[in-house]
Symmetry: C2
Amino acid sequence: MLQRIDHVGIACRSLEAAIEKYTSVFGLSVTSLEVNEEQGVKEAMLSLQPGQAEGPAGPFGSYVQLLEPLSEDTPVGKFLARRGEGIHHIGYAVANVTDALAAIEAAGLVRLIDARPRHGSLGASIAFLHPADLGGVLTELVQPSAGSPGLPGSPGGPVAGAASD
Amino acid sequence: MLQRIDHVGIACRSLEAAIEKYTSVFGLSVTSLEVNEEQGVKEAMLSLQPGQAEGPAGPFGSYVQLLEPLSEDTPVGKFLARRGEGIHHIGYAVANVTDALAAIEAAGLVRLIDARPRHGSLGASIAFLHPADLGGVLTELVQPSAGSPGLPGSPGGPVAGAASD
Protein backbone atom coordinates (compact mmCIF):
# COMPACT_ATOMS: atom_id res chain seq x y z
CA MET A 1 0.00 0.00 0.00
CA LEU A 2 2.77 2.46 0.95
CA GLN A 3 5.07 3.05 -2.01
CA ARG A 4 7.70 5.35 -0.55
CA ILE A 5 8.19 8.24 1.84
CA ASP A 6 6.73 11.26 0.07
CA HIS A 7 7.74 13.90 2.60
CA VAL A 8 8.64 14.71 6.16
CA GLY A 9 6.58 17.51 7.65
CA ILE A 10 8.59 19.80 9.93
CA ALA A 11 6.97 22.38 12.21
CA CYS A 12 8.89 25.65 12.47
CA ARG A 13 8.28 29.07 14.00
CA SER A 14 9.69 30.97 11.01
CA LEU A 15 9.21 29.56 7.54
CA GLU A 16 11.67 32.08 6.17
CA ALA A 17 14.42 31.05 8.60
CA ALA A 18 13.78 27.35 8.04
CA ILE A 19 13.93 27.74 4.25
CA GLU A 20 17.19 29.66 4.58
CA LYS A 21 18.65 26.84 6.72
CA TYR A 22 17.64 23.97 4.45
CA THR A 23 18.67 25.69 1.25
CA SER A 24 22.02 26.90 2.57
CA VAL A 25 23.04 23.76 4.49
CA PHE A 26 21.75 21.09 2.13
CA GLY A 27 21.37 22.89 -1.19
CA LEU A 28 17.67 22.04 -1.43
CA SER A 29 15.45 24.09 -3.71
CA VAL A 30 11.96 25.39 -3.02
CA THR A 31 9.43 23.68 -5.27
CA SER A 32 6.38 25.50 -3.95
CA LEU A 33 5.17 28.00 -1.39
CA GLU A 34 1.53 27.70 -0.39
CA VAL A 35 -0.91 28.88 2.23
CA ASN A 36 -3.32 26.13 3.25
CA GLU A 37 -6.11 27.87 5.18
CA GLU A 38 -7.89 24.59 5.88
CA GLN A 39 -4.84 23.21 7.66
CA GLY A 40 -3.84 26.58 9.09
CA VAL A 41 -0.32 26.63 7.69
CA LYS A 42 2.02 28.57 5.49
CA GLU A 43 4.28 25.96 3.96
CA ALA A 44 7.17 25.28 1.64
CA MET A 45 7.93 22.07 -0.24
CA LEU A 46 11.67 21.61 -0.79
CA SER A 47 12.57 19.02 -3.35
CA LEU A 48 15.30 16.50 -2.64
CA GLN A 49 16.09 15.13 -6.05
CA PRO A 50 15.77 17.35 -9.15
CA GLY A 51 19.15 18.10 -10.59
CA GLN A 52 20.86 15.51 -8.45
CA ALA A 53 22.64 13.66 -11.22
CA GLU A 54 23.85 11.07 -8.75
CA GLY A 55 20.41 10.50 -7.30
CA PRO A 56 18.61 7.24 -7.97
CA ALA A 57 15.19 8.64 -7.07
CA GLY A 58 12.20 7.66 -9.18
CA PRO A 59 9.97 9.88 -11.27
CA PHE A 60 8.31 11.32 -8.16
CA GLY A 61 10.64 12.96 -5.71
CA SER A 62 10.57 13.21 -1.96
CA TYR A 63 10.26 16.47 -0.11
CA VAL A 64 11.05 18.34 3.05
CA GLN A 65 7.81 20.14 3.97
CA LEU A 66 8.34 23.14 6.23
CA LEU A 67 5.24 24.25 8.14
CA GLU A 68 4.66 27.57 9.89
CA PRO A 69 1.30 27.92 11.64
CA LEU A 70 -1.03 30.75 10.61
CA SER A 71 -1.98 31.17 14.27
CA GLU A 72 -1.51 29.53 17.66
CA ASP A 73 -4.98 28.03 17.41
CA THR A 74 -4.12 25.60 14.63
CA PRO A 75 -2.85 22.00 14.78
CA VAL A 76 0.73 23.04 14.00
CA GLY A 77 0.48 26.04 16.33
CA LYS A 78 -0.61 23.76 19.16
CA PHE A 79 2.14 21.29 18.29
CA LEU A 80 4.76 24.05 18.57
CA ALA A 81 3.38 25.18 21.93
CA ARG A 82 3.37 21.61 23.25
CA ARG A 83 6.56 20.13 21.79
CA GLY A 84 8.55 22.91 20.19
CA GLU A 85 9.99 22.83 16.70
CA GLY A 86 10.57 19.42 15.15
CA ILE A 87 9.13 16.67 12.99
CA HIS A 88 5.35 17.01 12.88
CA HIS A 89 4.32 14.13 10.61
CA ILE A 90 5.43 11.71 7.93
CA GLY A 91 3.75 11.37 4.53
CA TYR A 92 3.73 8.18 2.48
CA ALA A 93 2.83 7.98 -1.19
CA VAL A 94 -0.02 5.68 -2.16
CA ALA A 95 -1.41 4.87 -5.61
CA ASN A 96 -4.98 5.77 -4.62
CA VAL A 97 -5.80 7.45 -1.33
CA THR A 98 -9.53 6.55 -1.44
CA ASP A 99 -8.70 2.87 -1.84
CA ALA A 100 -6.05 3.06 0.88
CA LEU A 101 -8.52 4.67 3.33
CA ALA A 102 -11.10 1.99 2.56
CA ALA A 103 -8.59 -0.80 3.19
CA ILE A 104 -7.37 0.75 6.46
CA GLU A 105 -10.91 1.35 7.68
CA ALA A 106 -11.89 -2.22 6.81
CA ALA A 107 -8.93 -3.59 8.77
CA GLY A 108 -10.18 -1.63 11.78
CA LEU A 109 -6.78 -1.19 13.44
CA VAL A 110 -6.23 2.52 12.90
CA ARG A 111 -8.70 5.38 13.22
CA LEU A 112 -8.95 7.83 10.33
CA ILE A 113 -8.68 11.56 10.92
CA ASP A 114 -9.98 12.12 7.40
CA ALA A 115 -12.70 9.73 6.26
CA ARG A 116 -12.40 11.19 2.79
CA PRO A 117 -9.43 12.68 0.93
CA ARG A 118 -8.80 16.41 1.03
CA HIS A 119 -6.48 18.75 -0.82
CA GLY A 120 -2.81 18.74 0.12
CA SER A 121 0.40 20.26 -1.17
CA LEU A 122 1.23 20.33 -4.86
CA GLY A 123 -2.30 19.37 -5.85
CA ALA A 124 -2.14 16.01 -4.06
CA SER A 125 -5.08 14.19 -2.51
CA ILE A 126 -4.25 13.46 1.11
CA ALA A 127 -5.68 11.96 4.29
CA PHE A 128 -4.35 11.74 7.83
CA LEU A 129 -4.42 8.70 10.13
CA HIS A 130 -4.66 9.00 13.90
CA PRO A 131 -1.29 9.04 15.70
CA ALA A 132 -2.73 7.36 18.82
CA ASP A 133 -3.11 4.14 16.82
CA LEU A 134 0.32 4.39 15.21
CA GLY A 135 2.68 4.76 18.14
CA GLY A 136 2.43 8.53 18.31
CA VAL A 137 3.20 9.03 14.63
CA LEU A 138 0.89 11.40 12.77
CA THR A 139 0.72 9.64 9.40
CA GLU A 140 -0.37 11.11 6.09
CA LEU A 141 -1.31 9.24 2.93
CA VAL A 142 -0.46 11.15 -0.24
CA GLN A 143 -1.73 10.52 -3.74
CA PRO A 144 0.36 12.87 -5.86
CA SER A 145 -1.40 14.94 -8.50
CA ALA A 146 -1.18 13.53 -12.01
CA GLY A 147 0.59 16.78 -12.85
CA SER A 148 2.90 16.54 -9.87
CA PRO A 149 6.47 17.65 -10.33
CA GLY A 150 8.91 14.92 -11.16
CA LEU A 151 12.16 14.30 -12.89
CA PRO A 152 12.49 15.68 -16.41
CA GLY A 153 10.66 13.33 -18.72
CA SER A 154 8.34 11.99 -16.04
CA PRO A 155 4.59 12.54 -16.24
CA GLY A 156 3.97 16.19 -15.60
CA GLY A 157 7.60 17.17 -15.89
CA PRO A 158 9.40 19.51 -13.50
CA VAL A 159 7.05 21.78 -11.59
CA ALA A 160 4.31 21.49 -14.24
CA GLY A 161 0.91 21.59 -12.60
CA ALA A 162 2.34 22.43 -9.19
CA ALA A 163 -0.29 25.06 -8.56
CA SER A 164 -3.13 23.31 -10.40
CA ASP A 165 -5.83 20.91 -9.17
CA MET B 1 23.52 16.78 -1.38
CA LEU B 2 20.37 15.05 -0.10
CA GLN B 3 19.05 12.62 -2.69
CA ARG B 4 15.87 11.34 -1.09
CA ILE B 5 14.37 10.36 2.24
CA ASP B 6 15.99 7.04 3.10
CA HIS B 7 14.00 6.27 6.22
CA VAL B 8 11.95 7.59 9.09
CA GLY B 9 13.15 6.40 12.50
CA ILE B 10 10.30 5.68 14.91
CA ALA B 11 10.87 5.08 18.63
CA CYS B 12 8.64 2.39 20.13
CA ARG B 13 8.39 0.58 23.45
CA SER B 14 7.80 -2.84 21.87
CA LEU B 15 9.47 -3.67 18.58
CA GLU B 16 7.29 -6.75 18.25
CA ALA B 17 4.05 -4.79 18.63
CA ALA B 18 5.21 -2.06 16.26
CA ILE B 19 6.20 -4.58 13.58
CA GLU B 20 2.82 -6.28 13.94
CA LYS B 21 1.08 -2.93 13.46
CA TYR B 22 3.03 -1.80 10.40
CA THR B 23 2.85 -5.17 8.66
CA SER B 24 -0.85 -5.72 9.32
CA VAL B 25 -2.08 -2.17 8.63
CA PHE B 26 0.15 -1.24 5.71
CA GLY B 27 1.36 -4.58 4.38
CA LEU B 28 5.01 -3.66 4.83
CA SER B 29 7.61 -6.41 4.98
CA VAL B 30 10.56 -6.71 7.35
CA THR B 31 13.83 -6.37 5.44
CA SER B 32 16.11 -6.76 8.44
CA LEU B 33 16.20 -7.18 12.20
CA GLU B 34 19.37 -5.98 13.91
CA VAL B 35 20.75 -5.16 17.32
CA ASN B 36 23.00 -2.10 17.24
CA GLU B 37 24.85 -2.10 20.58
CA GLU B 38 26.65 1.15 19.75
CA GLN B 39 23.35 2.98 19.35
CA GLY B 40 21.63 0.98 22.08
CA VAL B 41 18.73 -0.22 19.96
CA LYS B 42 17.01 -3.31 18.68
CA GLU B 43 15.61 -2.33 15.32
CA ALA B 44 13.66 -3.42 12.28
CA MET B 45 13.85 -2.00 8.77
CA LEU B 46 10.54 -2.34 6.92
CA SER B 47 10.74 -1.81 3.20
CA LEU B 48 8.21 0.37 1.43
CA GLN B 49 8.66 -0.51 -2.19
CA PRO B 50 9.67 -4.05 -3.18
CA GLY B 51 6.86 -5.84 -4.91
CA GLN B 52 4.88 -2.66 -5.42
CA ALA B 53 4.35 -2.94 -9.15
CA GLU B 54 2.64 0.44 -9.20
CA GLY B 55 5.43 2.11 -7.27
CA PRO B 56 7.68 4.59 -9.02
CA ALA B 57 10.45 4.28 -6.46
CA GLY B 58 14.03 4.18 -7.67
CA PRO B 59 16.56 1.39 -7.29
CA PHE B 60 16.99 2.10 -3.60
CA GLY B 61 13.88 1.95 -1.50
CA SER B 62 12.78 3.90 1.51
CA TYR B 63 12.18 2.36 4.90
CA VAL B 64 10.27 2.60 8.12
CA GLN B 65 12.86 2.02 10.86
CA LEU B 66 11.36 0.85 14.14
CA LEU B 67 13.58 1.38 17.19
CA GLU B 68 13.25 -0.23 20.61
CA PRO B 69 15.86 0.87 23.17
CA LEU B 70 18.07 -1.78 24.76
CA SER B 71 17.80 0.10 28.06
CA GLU B 72 16.47 3.34 29.51
CA ASP B 73 19.97 4.76 29.54
CA THR B 74 20.27 5.03 25.75
CA PRO B 75 19.39 7.89 23.40
CA VAL B 76 16.15 6.22 22.29
CA GLY B 77 15.35 5.17 25.88
CA LYS B 78 15.74 8.76 27.03
CA PHE B 79 13.66 9.98 24.08
CA LEU B 80 10.81 7.65 25.07
CA ALA B 81 10.96 8.82 28.68
CA ARG B 82 10.92 12.47 27.62
CA ARG B 83 8.52 12.51 24.65
CA GLY B 84 6.84 9.12 24.45
CA GLU B 85 6.57 7.02 21.33
CA GLY B 86 6.86 8.80 18.01
CA ILE B 87 9.18 9.92 15.24
CA HIS B 88 12.75 9.97 16.53
CA HIS B 89 14.72 11.09 13.46
CA ILE B 90 14.75 11.38 9.69
CA GLY B 91 17.41 9.84 7.45
CA TYR B 92 18.40 11.23 4.07
CA ALA B 93 20.41 9.37 1.46
CA VAL B 94 23.65 10.94 0.28
CA ALA B 95 26.11 9.75 -2.35
CA ASN B 96 29.08 9.95 0.01
CA VAL B 97 28.68 10.58 3.72
CA THR B 98 32.31 11.63 4.27
CA ASP B 99 32.03 14.28 1.55
CA ALA B 100 28.66 15.44 2.92
CA LEU B 101 30.08 15.82 6.45
CA ALA B 102 33.02 17.79 5.12
CA ALA B 103 30.74 20.15 3.20
CA ILE B 104 28.42 20.67 6.18
CA GLU B 105 31.33 21.26 8.55
CA ALA B 106 32.89 23.73 6.11
CA ALA B 107 29.62 25.69 5.88
CA GLY B 108 29.67 25.98 9.68
CA LEU B 109 25.90 26.24 10.13
CA VAL B 110 25.17 22.88 11.70
CA ARG B 111 27.12 21.01 14.37
CA LEU B 112 28.00 17.39 13.70
CA ILE B 113 27.17 14.67 16.22
CA ASP B 114 29.44 12.32 14.29
CA ALA B 115 32.60 13.87 12.91
CA ARG B 116 33.26 10.63 11.06
CA PRO B 117 30.86 8.05 9.59
CA ARG B 118 29.85 5.03 11.62
CA HIS B 119 27.97 1.83 10.88
CA GLY B 120 24.21 2.02 10.42
CA SER B 121 21.42 -0.30 9.34
CA LEU B 122 21.79 -2.60 6.34
CA GLY B 123 25.52 -2.01 6.14
CA ALA B 124 25.17 1.71 5.51
CA SER B 125 27.65 4.39 6.53
CA ILE B 126 25.83 7.00 8.58
CA ALA B 127 26.35 10.21 10.53
CA PHE B 128 24.02 12.31 12.67
CA LEU B 129 23.68 16.09 12.65
CA HIS B 130 22.72 18.08 15.74
CA PRO B 131 18.96 18.73 16.07
CA ALA B 132 19.52 22.04 17.89
CA ASP B 133 20.84 23.53 14.64
CA LEU B 134 18.08 22.02 12.50
CA GLY B 135 14.89 23.19 14.18
CA GLY B 136 14.68 20.27 16.60
CA VAL B 137 15.05 17.65 13.87
CA LEU B 138 17.57 14.90 14.56
CA THR B 139 18.95 14.39 11.05
CA GLU B 140 20.87 11.39 9.77
CA LEU B 141 22.92 11.15 6.59
CA VAL B 142 22.90 7.69 5.04
CA GLN B 143 25.25 6.30 2.43
CA PRO B 144 23.69 2.95 1.55
CA SER B 145 25.96 -0.06 1.30
CA ALA B 146 27.03 -0.96 -2.23
CA GLY B 147 25.27 -4.24 -1.53
CA SER B 148 22.17 -2.56 -0.15
CA PRO B 149 18.83 -4.08 -1.02
CA GLY B 150 17.09 -2.60 -4.00
CA LEU B 151 14.66 -3.41 -6.71
CA PRO B 152 15.39 -6.49 -8.81
CA GLY B 153 18.07 -5.56 -11.30
CA SER B 154 19.52 -2.78 -9.16
CA PRO B 155 23.06 -2.96 -7.82
CA GLY B 156 23.09 -5.59 -5.13
CA GLY B 157 19.64 -6.90 -5.96
CA PRO B 158 16.94 -7.66 -3.42
CA VAL B 159 18.25 -8.16 0.10
CA ALA B 160 21.71 -9.17 -1.18
CA GLY B 161 24.37 -8.02 1.22
CA ALA B 162 21.85 -6.87 3.83
CA ALA B 163 23.82 -8.42 6.63
CA SER B 164 27.28 -7.75 5.22
CA ASP B 165 29.66 -4.87 5.72
